[in-house]
């Protein structure tokens, strides 16, 4: 399972490095969205550190949706599905591999957006560094959940519009927990409770993915 996961993750990441969609399309979209959030709030409120964590996670969620779609489009190339079926790859390994690749991409994007939040939204650098571990775990959970929801909506003509409808409500608890832990990191609050929620969500989505991805991939 681990070997399959590493193989699939390597394949997805290689495709991403060669196509450079993450670099030239997804990251600029994230930065623009962050700037638009600041403009929507106005200069007086955009610089307040209370809005920063929420806006950071909102933009991250939008970017995540793009990346989930991207992760599924990669599988649509002619022969990909049949090759996986012929090779007899373990579906749990495929799920873990795709989640890992998506998580790596999200971590990179998350770091750039965090730097953007520090610069544009005046989110404190020290607090942002304290929040970094919780951001890593939250984005990992988003990647696992996103891979599952991506597989649920894959293939159809309406997949691009259906994905946000299904995934965003499911991401809401992660958004709340991530935002709260980031906010508490900035303001010296109690981090443990939110950490527990994020870690439980990560474990739950990984377990669900291992169990159910095969059914979706049949």
């Amino acid at each position: 399972m681990i070997r399959t996961a590493l193989l699939v993750a390597g394949k997805d990441l290689r495709i991403e490095v060669r196509s450079r969609v993450l670099l030239w399309q997804v990251l600029p979209f994230g930065v623009i969205a962050l700037l638009l959030c600041g403009l929507a709030l106005g200069p007086a409120h955009a610089g307040s550190s209370s809005a920063g964590p929420g806006l950071y996670y909102l933009v991250t969620l939008l970017v995540t949706l793009l990346m989930i779609n991207r992760s599924q489009i990669v599988e649509r190339a002619p022969g990909t599905k049949s090759s996986i079926a012929t090779l007899g790859l373990d579906p749990a390994g495929v799920f873990l591999g795709k989640s890992l690749a998506l998580a790596v991409e999200l971590w990179l994007t998350g770091l750039v957006l965090l730097a953007g939040a520090v610069l544009v939204l005046h989110t404190g650098l020290h607090g942002a560094l304290i929040a970094l571990p919780s951001i890593v775990v939250t984005l990992g959970a988003l990647a696992a959940a996103g891979t599952l929801y991506g597989a649920l909506t894959a293939g159809g003509e309406t997949s691009a519009t259906l994905l946000p409808v299904l995934a965003l409500p499911a991401f809401a608890p992660l958004l709340i927990a991530g935002e709260r832990s980031f906010y508490d990191a900035l303001h010296g609050g109690e981090l443990l409770g939110w950490w527990v929620i994020v870690v439980v969500a990560l474990v739950a989505y990984v377990a669900m993915g291992i169990l159910l991805y095969g059914v979706l991939d049949e």
Binding site: Y149, L162, P169, A170, A172, P173, A204, E218
Partner: protein, 242 residues
């Protein structure tokens, strides 16, 4: 078989009697609350509707989905049950939010509060709508059944979050109303009885609607397949004439 038919026939009338009894006891017989006055009468509707929305209907949809995915019990019957239960769940979640809102306006001063219980229930409603959207997006019955079943199980993660939200977060929504921490009943005997009848009545209402919706779904599938067969026959006859 006879007993099953009798139960099936009695489901509707018994449901109506229980709901009528709830209305009579709730509106005329039970006393007003010392602080809330007549507003307390919503307690005979809102918790029962919420019980059906979150646990009975969503639970039925989730269990049917699990049974569909389990190879031993996999059948389109389970898929149909899950679909129909989820559809009824959307109605009951909407009713839960509406009745809660009606209670919230005079009590909290607002129709909607960003409260953990309210927000998580609204999210469940959107997830249930998402389930219906997912079904409409897939034409292949097997693919549709499989994907919907997985989504129903994923969406069910929200139910324990809603249940424990009043314990995990500081919420406007009150915690356990009927039972105290020591499991003793905290409300007046007649009120407790009315509430109990209301719970049974609304639960039976769910099963009554589910049964009717299931029959309708079977007929709809049958009608669409007959139409297709008829169309194919007509085409074949056309081909034979040429």
């Amino acid at each position: 078989m006879m007993a099953k038919q009798l139960l099936s026939r009695l489901l509707g009338p018994v449901t109506l009697v229980l709901l009528a009894l709830t209305i009579w006891l709730g509106l005329w017989v039970t006393p007003q609350d010392k602080i809330q006055g007549n507003l307390v009468r919503l307690v005979y509707v809102h918790p029962s509707v919420a019980w059906v929305a979150l646990y009975v209907s969503f639970g039925t949809a989730t269990i049917a989905s699990v049974l569909y995915l389990w190879k031993r019990t996999r059948s389109m019957v389970m898929d149909r049950v899950a679909y129909c239960a989820m559809e009824v769940s959307v109605v009951f979640i909407t009713l839960t939010l509406i009745t809660g809102s009606i209670w919230g306006r005079p009590t909290w001063g607002v129709w909607w509060a960003w409260d953990a219980r309210l927000t998580s229930t609204a999210i469940l409603g959107v997830l249930a709508l998402g389930y219906l959207a997912l079904r409409r997006a897939n034409d292949d019955p097997v693919l549709r059944a499989r994907r919907s079943a997985v989504f129903a199980i994923l969406a069910a993660i929200n139910v324990p979050i809603i249940h424990f939200s009043v314990d995990w977060w500081k919420t406007l929504h009150q915690g356990a109303t009927v039972f105290g921490p020591d499991r003793s009943i905290k409300i007046h005997g007649l009120m407790a009885l009315t509430l109990f009848i209301s719970f049974i009545g609304f639960t039976m209402l769910f099963f009554w609607i589910l049964r009717a919706r299931y029959r309708l779904e079977v007929r709809r599938e049958l009608a669409s397949s007959v139409t297709l067969d008829e169309a194919l026959d007509a085409r074949r006859r056309e081909g034979a004439l040429q």
